[in-house]
Structure formats: C-alpha cells, structure tokens
C-alpha cells in the first residue's frame, strides 16, 4: 500500500488524497518501467516465436525463399502422420526413450538420494561425485561415450574383461537394435544426479518427528519408507516425473552428436527430425508443425501434473 504520514492525513485530507493518488500513479509507472526490459524481451523472443510456430505450421514457409509463405491448412499435419514414415519412427523412438528413461532415472535418483541422505561422514563428497556428470556438458558427454561405445572401445573391453571373454559386446551405435539403448544408458548416467538433488530436497522436507513417531510404534525401515517417506515425497515425485518426461521428449543433442538419427532411423527423435527438416532442409513450415505436435505432448503432460498435484489439496 501507499504510505502517507498519518498526521498530515488527519489535518489535510484533500492534499493527502492527491498525494496518495499521485504516489500510486508513480508506482504504476515505476512498475511498468521496471517490467519493460524483461517484458519486451519475452515478447520478442518467447511470445512471438510461439505465435510464429503456430502460424507457420499452417503454411509452406521456407527459411530463405523468394516466395512469401502460402497458407496450406492442415497439410503439414496430414503429411506428418500419413506421408512421413521418418516422423512416425521419430515419435515411436521418442516415446520408447521416455518410457525407459522416466521410471529408471526417477527410481535411481531416489535410490541415490536415500543413500546420501544418511547422516554419515562423507555423504557430501558422494553427492558431489554423483552430480559431476550433470555439470558436464551433454555435448562432451556424448562425444566421450561415442568413443567408449566403439566396437573396439572401452565398454566392450570392459565387458570382455568382466565376463572373461564369454560375452562379446556389440557395435553399439552402429547396430539398429542397440543404438537407442546405448543413448538411453548415457542419458540416464548424465542426468540422474540432478534428480537425486530434487529427491533429496523432498526428503529433507519430511519432519523427523514423523520418523520418531513411527519408530516408537515399532515400524520397520520398510514400513517407515512406505508410510512416512513415500507419502511425504508425493509432490516431489510428480515434479521429478514431469521434468524427466519433458526433458526426455526433447532428446536432441545426444542424437545429433552420436548417431545423426541412424542407423536406419533407429535413433531419430521428434526434435531431431524437426531440426533436420526446418534447418537443414529449410522446410520451416513443416518443422513448425512437428514442433507444435511436440509442444502439445508437453502441454498434456503439464496438465496431468496440475491435475495430479491438485488432487492432493
């Protein structure tokens, strides 16, 4: 609220009223002025591109073209679902990727969080270690693993050593049956530490009193987990699952660096396909349509999140 000295207000009601009004006017101007830089930038580089994605998806726009974009209705969307087998393969791969990465990464993250949440000496050290891949660029990680995945690479020589030569590794990234799995493993390795931290923050919001009460009732460790920890982690769980799902649907860098969608389109993804169409082949209109389909998927997941978290309250 605006402020005026109470004494003055009592003595001179009219003046103070004007003062309040003018000070409120100044507050509006100050608010608008301070909002303006961010507001303008968000408008130019977030709102406009979103609207563009929407409108371009109904046109045949090209990145550099002498002809202005022409309205083509839903052609791009029909094309995606009926005349572009690579898009369908991309959607399937993206779905498979998310289907494995979401539960495994969330589960491992929780396991790590529980492990490092114990009041033991040195847990901070392990937290830092588990988090190191997160701060390492995914580009660097992808290149590194690309080298390790080679048929004569580190992974295969480790498999060879551990099994005393009984198992032979594959040519992971050049085999359509293993390429996506190889990308899944490295993706989980890279980001699981991030979700460990989120779970850890969730674990630490559970009051210790609840555990004490449970112990007093003679609850076993498993019962404590099932009846105290897990219910207390519900909001965290929704957040973790949703962020992993959205990140998984956006899979791009690993594919671009490691396989370029190959072999035989076994690792191409929706975002990779959109970038290839829009940027390399300059079909901006069609790429915008694919991006929009990706966005619809993200939107649906966000709505599910709203619904899941609302249910509880």
């Amino acid at each position: 609220m605006t402020v005026s000295p109470p004494v003055a207000a009592a003595k001179q009601p009219r003046r103070s009223l004007r003062r309040i009004r003018s000070s409120r006017g100044r507050e509006t101007w100050a608010g608008l002025a301070m909002m303006a830089p961010a507001g303008l930038l968000l408008l130019l580089f977030l709102i406009v591109p979103v609207l563009l994605a929407f409108t371009l998806s109904f046109t045949n726009a090209r990145l550099i073209s002498p002809n202005p974009p022409r309205f083509v209705g839903l052609d791009n969307f029909f094309r995606a679902f009926t005349a572009d087998p690579v898009f369908l393969q991309s959607a399937l791969n993206t779905f498979l990727f998310a289907l494995v990465v979401v539960p495994v990464q969330a589960g491992l993250g929780l396991l790590l969080a529980i492990l490092v949440n114990q009041r033991l000496r040195g847990t901070t050290f392990f937290r830092v270690v588990f988090f190191i891949p997160v701060v390492t660029s995914i580009v660097v990680v992808s290149i590194l693993w690309r080298f390790m995945y080679q048929s004569d690479g580190l992974i295969n020589s480790m498999i060879d050593t551990v099994t005393f030569g009984a198992l032979k590794g594959a040519d992971w990234l050049n085999d359509p049956t293993t390429a996506l799995g190889a990308i899944i493993v490295l993706s989980i390795w890279q980001a699981v530490g991030f979700h460990m931290i989120i779970w850890l923050a969730g674990l630490q919001t559970i009051p210790e009193e609840l555990y004490e009460a449970a112990r007093m009732d003679g609850a076993s460790r498993w019962h404590q987990f099932a009846h105290v920890t897990w219910p207390g982690l519900r909001p965290t769980m929704v957040f973790v699952l949703v962020t992993i799902t959205i990140a998984a649907l956006g899979l791009f860098v690993q594919v671009d660096v490691m396989t370029q969608g190959g072999p035989l389109n076994s690792t191409t993804t929706v975002v990779y396909h959109a970038v290839r169409k829009g940027y390399e082949q300059q079909e901006i209109g069609y790429a915008a349509a694919i991006s929009l389909l990706f966005f619809v998927a993200v939107l649906v997941i966000a709505l599910i999140q709203r619904w899941l978290t609302r249910e509880k309250n």
């Binding site: 580089f45 009041r119 580009v139 931290i197 210790e208 959109a274 940027y279």
Partner: protein, 314 residues
C-alpha cells in the same frame, strides 16, 4: 526461498542424534554396506571422465593399446601435453573460449539485472496489469526451447540490426552470425523472474514503506534495500543460467556459421571431418569441461541448493 534452502539443513542437523541412534542400533554392517555401495556408484559416475582426462594426455596409439587394461584410467606410459598443443594448432580454441565466455557472462549478467527488476516490479509494486503479466509469465514456463527453436531461426533472420560498413553505421536485416543472436534472446527468462519474485516477496514490506517515507524512489529501494538482501536469489539464478549458457549447442549450431563467432560446444565439429584424432578430441573436451568443473567444485554447495530450490519451487 531462504525458507526452502535453509530449513532442510536445519531439520537435518536437528535430527542428527535420532538418526545416529538408529544407525548404531543397526551396527557397523549397515554403514559399511552404505559406503561400499556409494563407492561402487562413485566409480560408475567418475570412470568416463577419468578416462577422458587420462586419455587427453596420451598419444592415439597408446589410448587404443591401454583400453584393454586398467591403464586406460591411469596416466601411465607416454604422457605429454602434445594433444593440447595439437588442439591449439587445429582449432581456434582461444577464439572459441573467448566467444563462450563473452556470451555466458553477458547472458548471465544482463539476465540478473533485467529479471530481478521484473521480479521486483511483480512482487513489490502494485500496478495495473500486474496480475495478468504474472500469470502470462508463469504460463510461458512450460514452453520448451526446442518448440520455438526452428521458428525462432526464421524470426531472428528478419530482425533489424546495425552494421558497420566501411566506417559507416548502417542498418540491415538478419541477426544470423552475430554475438547478439547468441545473447539477447536468452537474457529475459521467465523462470528467473519467477524465482526473484518469490524471493523478494519474503522480504518484509515494512522496509520499503520506511524508505518511501524517507522519500526514496522505487529504483533506490530496489538498488539499496532489496538487492543487498537477496544474495541467495542472485546466486541461484546465476548458477541456473550459467550452465545452459555455457552448454548452448542447438541454437548456435543453427544461427552461427562464422567460425570466429562460434562457441566452444559447436567447435567440437571441427574434429569429426576426416580421421578422428581421439587424443586431441579428449584434450579439447577436457579443456572445455575443466573450467565448469572447477567452478562447480568451488561453489558446489551453492549449486546443489540452487538445483534443490528450483525443484521445490516447481
């Protein structure tokens, strides 16, 4: 936000005696088991990076020879910095590093100013349209960059820009191949604004009321009262925007073709043309990973609490 950052730690320390008691009742075996499993996992998380740093010191032939033995993880044999010198000969690393540092510093620095001002306007000032703007900003949080990346290329290609041509300042269209295209679109960030607004709203309003009576302007209140009290918020936003700015890949890949403007991540491509010299690749990746890793190890506590704050808020 102080609440979410500090409270867990306090709870944890208060709980120390209780937890310790459980542990001792379960005996040493449980503790040993925990350490063993954490150590095995630590090896799993570290081996690729150790392999990278170690290999960057070896010639290609030896990297391949060592791969079948534990020597792959040890700096043994023909160790030298030759790969690093090789990288400098092959790729304009200095230029790439300069570009990445410039882009990151400006994106993070300008972002701190612009987003904290917006967060201040949204959380401490009452003005018309505030509620609508706040709702709109929260709604945009869910737009992933990947959805707008391709339309954005089309868009920035039509924006006006100033260029120097033979000593004359002219204007032209198209932001492709500039520094600004790597910085300006990422300065304003809905999530940063949201975090600032959240944090600022926890500061008692009586502080600005008192300052208002003393005749301070809103900007003075922001500058002299709110900013000095909001160190943790600034640190959180700086960390959360630093990593994506340094790691940018998709965007510069599409909008920067000029070699002398490219950032380090895109510089990778120079290595995969003919025969890949893996020793040099490892030296290059080590070179661009080390700065971030050092920053992280020095500020790891702040990193971890920033990430935690981002999750608790979400």
């Amino acid at each position: 936000m102080t609440g979410t950052l500090e409270r867990p730690r306090r709870t944890a320390s208060r709980s120390t005696p209780a937890r310790e008691r459980t542990r001792s009742s379960e005996g040493r075996n449980g503790r040993i088991l925990t350490y063993v499993s954490m150590s095995i996992l630590a090896v799993f998380f570290l081996f690729p990076l150790v392999f990278m740093f170690v290999s960057s010191l070896k010639p290609d032939a030896q990297i391949l020879r060592d791969i079948d033995s534990p020597a792959a993880f040890l700096p043994t044999g023909d160790i030298s910095l030759d790969n690093y010198f090789g990288v400098f000969d092959r790729v304009p690393v200095g230029q790439f590093l300069f570009n990445s540092i410039l882009v990151t510093v400006l994106t993070v620095g300008l972002g701190l100013i612009v987003n904290s001002l917006a967060g201040f306007a949204l959380s401490r000032l009452r003005w018309k349209g505030r509620v609508v703007v706040l709702a709109l900003i929260i709604a945009t949080l869910i737009v992933p960059f990947e959805t707008i990346a391709v339309p954005m290329v089309y868009w920035v290609n039509q924006l006006p820009t100033l260029v120097m041509e033979g000593g004359v300042l002219k204007y032209d269209f198209g932001w492709l191949n500039t520094y600004q295209v790597q910085i300006v679109p990422f300065i304003a960030n809905a999530f940063s604004i949201f975090l600032f607004a959240q944090y600022f709203s926890t500061i008692p309003p009586s502080l600005d009321e008192a300052a208002r009576i003393d005749g301070a302007s809103w900007f003075t209140i922001y500058r002299r009262i709110i900013v000095p009290l909001s160190g943790p918020a600034f640190a959180t936003v700086a960390i959360l925007t630093f990593l994506p700015a340094w790691n940018q890949y998709l965007w510069p890949l599409m909008v920067v073709q000029k070699e002398n403007l490219r950032p380090v991540m895109v510089g990778m491509q120079y290595f995969f043309q003919l025969n890949t010299a893996w020793g040099e690749v490892m030296a290059y990746t080590s070179l661009i990973t080390l700065p971030v890793l050092i920053v992280f190890l020095v500020f790891q506590r702040a990193f971890v609490s920033s990430i935690a704050a981002s999750g608790v808020k979400g």
